[in-house]
Amino acid sequence: MEQIPVTVLTGYLGAGKTTLLNRILSEPHGKKYAVIVNEFGEAGIDGDLVVGADEEIFEMNNGCICCTVRGDLIRIISGLMKRARNFDGILIETTGLADPGPVAQTFFADADVASKAKLDSIVTVVDAKNLPQRLKDSNEAEEQIAFADVILLNKTDLVSAEELKKVEHAIRHINSFAKIIHTERCKVPLDQVLGLGSFDLNEILKHEPDFLGAKEEHHHHGHEHHGHHHHDEDCHDEHCDNPEHHHEHGHDHHHHEHDHQHDSTITSISLTSDKPINIDKFEAWMGDLRANQGPDLLRYKGILDVAGSGQRLAIQGVHMMMEGSNLSPWKENAKRQSRLVFIGRKLDEKTLRDGFKNCAAA
């Protein structure tokens, strides 16, 4: 049986999660979703298969200090899967204060859940007006951004172009890889938030040429590129979903406006290597990293050019849980380059860069 896709909707209180949820449920896409909500019946949810969940965070006794799962989700998803299949996907609306880590880890750590359901994407709704304050007074808002594959920068109509630029910069500082979509009242084409396969190693490879794009090189080598600000002005269309735009924003802000940093501790780091990777060295390095810094590694993804292998190795992980597989051969004449990205707390760019460099095959 095919695994059912699960989309996680996070966002701080009042950011517009319920609006997005109702938009997904009410649009005429012909699909049926089971919805898991955190607080039952607070704002009306239009679906007919709505389940209330009390967040129950369980530590796993597997020697992994940061390995926590959501017991309530294991219970509910296992229950939903007993049904004669009458829905096409599951939407999980987390509380405004929820840590997305245990939610994501549930899909890796619980074999029953993993066999029947797969995490499609984490979609975070942020309120353009209130985000700066939320980032100052809470860790959760920052974590929700860090874990996101897609960020709906909502309520753009309530802020000036200048404020919007600042808030986008703040987001990019935390997570420079998520797709940012500007919205008013969460108005977004649903194919931008559903069915993305963000945790699917095959999907990561499919987007390989753009995966954290060739443009990501600006990130490391392109500090002299100052001239991209004009893109911002092109981007106020609420439907703007051009990832290139967003990438460009990200690079600029990320590198050139450090003086605007709030007291955020989560950052994104992207590494590249033109030398093939020694897989044993890489595994040893990642193993140490996960053991020593697992709780601080929120998400990571990579495509590696493994020495002696014609295949591209895709990896991804959440905290200490990593998965990887050799998926498809490099294209003829393609530039074989390894790329690895981390989103996490207290990441030391130089240490990571050196560590990755040391993984190069001799």
């Binding site: 039952f40 017991g71 229950g79």
Partner: protein, 354 residues
């Protein structure tokens, strides 16, 4: 090991079978389906067409024998608790909890008590459906079971299990503590040992007389199914590629290894059910295979499901009262009945053909 097709009768219910149970007397069998209905049959070789009872506006999450003779309890994701009498026209609604799931139901074999859980709350009722007491658990319940003599009720949850005396109204819990999320619960037939299965593919147990604890590990998957043999000498468990049977005699399970029975196949055992009288365990696999394995080393019998059903996991196994009929349910919605006679015939047939 012999591979047989020894089916006495078969049914196709057209929706996934999520659970199978007999009443306390072992005279009726009930199958809960993924469309919310229940199928009821006499648990005998004469079982004919199943009676269909429309039950939940959703599905049954838990199915168990009811305190009333010949009846069943079902709790659903519509928040409803039903008592189902196979001979009655309609099920009786015992309780309803809006917007909650009734995850666990149980009744005592002496017919005095019923219990169920909704979220973190556990409810104790009598056979007249009067609520005797309620208690709040530290987390949502994983499992629920009455001790064999009906004097105690055990509910498992995060970081342990809670024990309640059924004759005490205040529902004061005796807490059994062990880190981790505890799922299923099983009482030893002598009522002196409580076992739980854990999220971490392991078992934990407490001997209640001295609170001596036991831990069993090494499973490949969560243990969804546990069954003590009739006299309590072994606990048969799912969760590995063989049937893992822990000995509860001669000082065991402390310091003893388990008996391993059944084919060592790529697929895992999904379901086990000990014979009501003999030291024999029936086990179902993730691909629909069924093994009948005596614990004394006699030859095991391996039974194939029909080709069309191969690959569908066994989701329920039930013996009838006499132990001469075994019902086996598959996730595909297919149910099989094996009788001693049909199995013996197939064994003899295989022997003459080989």
């Amino acid at each position: 090991m012999r591979q047989l097709s020894a089916i006495h009768r078969q049914w196709n219910f057209g929706a996934p079978i999520t659970a199978l149970a007999t009443d306390h007397a072992g005279e009726w069998v009930a199958a809960a389906l993924g469309d919310g209905s229940l199928k009821l049959l006499p648990a005998s070789a004469e079982a004919g067409d199943a009676k269909t009872v429309k039950l939940h506006n959703g599905i049954s999450l838990s199915l168990a024998p009811d305190a009333l003779p010949g009846c069943f309890l079902s709790g659903g994701d519509d928040g409803k608790l039903f008592s189902i009498d196979p001979q009655a026209d309609a099920p009786a609604l015992l309780a309803e909890h809006k917007n909650q799931w009734i995850d666990n139901v149980a009744s005592s074999a002496d017919g005095k008590y019923r219990a169920y859980t909704a979220g973190k709350n556990v409810y104790l009722l009598n056979e007249k459906n009067e609520v005797l007491g309620t208690a709040q658990l530290p987390s949502s319940a994983g499992g629920l079971a009455f001790s064999p003599n009906g004097k105690r009720l055990a509910a498992s949850h995060y970081n342990g299990a809670s024990l309640f005396w059924t004759n005490s109204k205040d529902m004061e819990a005796v807490k059994l503590l062990w880190k981790g999320s505890h799922l299923g619960v099983a009482w030893h037939p002598d009522g002196k040992i409580l076992m739980t299965s854990l999220q971490e593919n392991a078992l934990h147990g407490w001997r209640l007389s001295d609170m001596n604890e036991m831990r069993m590990q090494g499973y490949a998957a969560k243990i969804h199914s546990m069954s003590f043999t009739a006299k309590g000498r072994y606990l048969a468990t799912s969760g590995a590629d063989q049937i893992i049977c822990w000995p509860y005699f001669a000082g065991g399970p402390w310091g003893k290894g388990p008996l391993t029975l059944g084919s060592s196949d790529a697929r895992l055992v999904s379901c086990v059910s000990a014979h009501p009288k003999d030291e024999l365990v029936a086990a179902g696999y993730g691909d629909g295979m069924i093994v009948m394995a005596p614990l004394d080393g006699r030859m095991e019998v391996l039974i194939h499901p029909p080709v069309a059903e191969t690959g569908s996991a066994v989701t329920g196994l039930c013996w009838n009262k006499e132990g001469d009929c075994l019902f086996a349910a598959l996730e595909s919605g297919y149910m099989m009945l094996f009788t001693v006679e049909s199995v013996q015939k197939a064994v003899a047939h295989a022997a003459t053909n080989s």
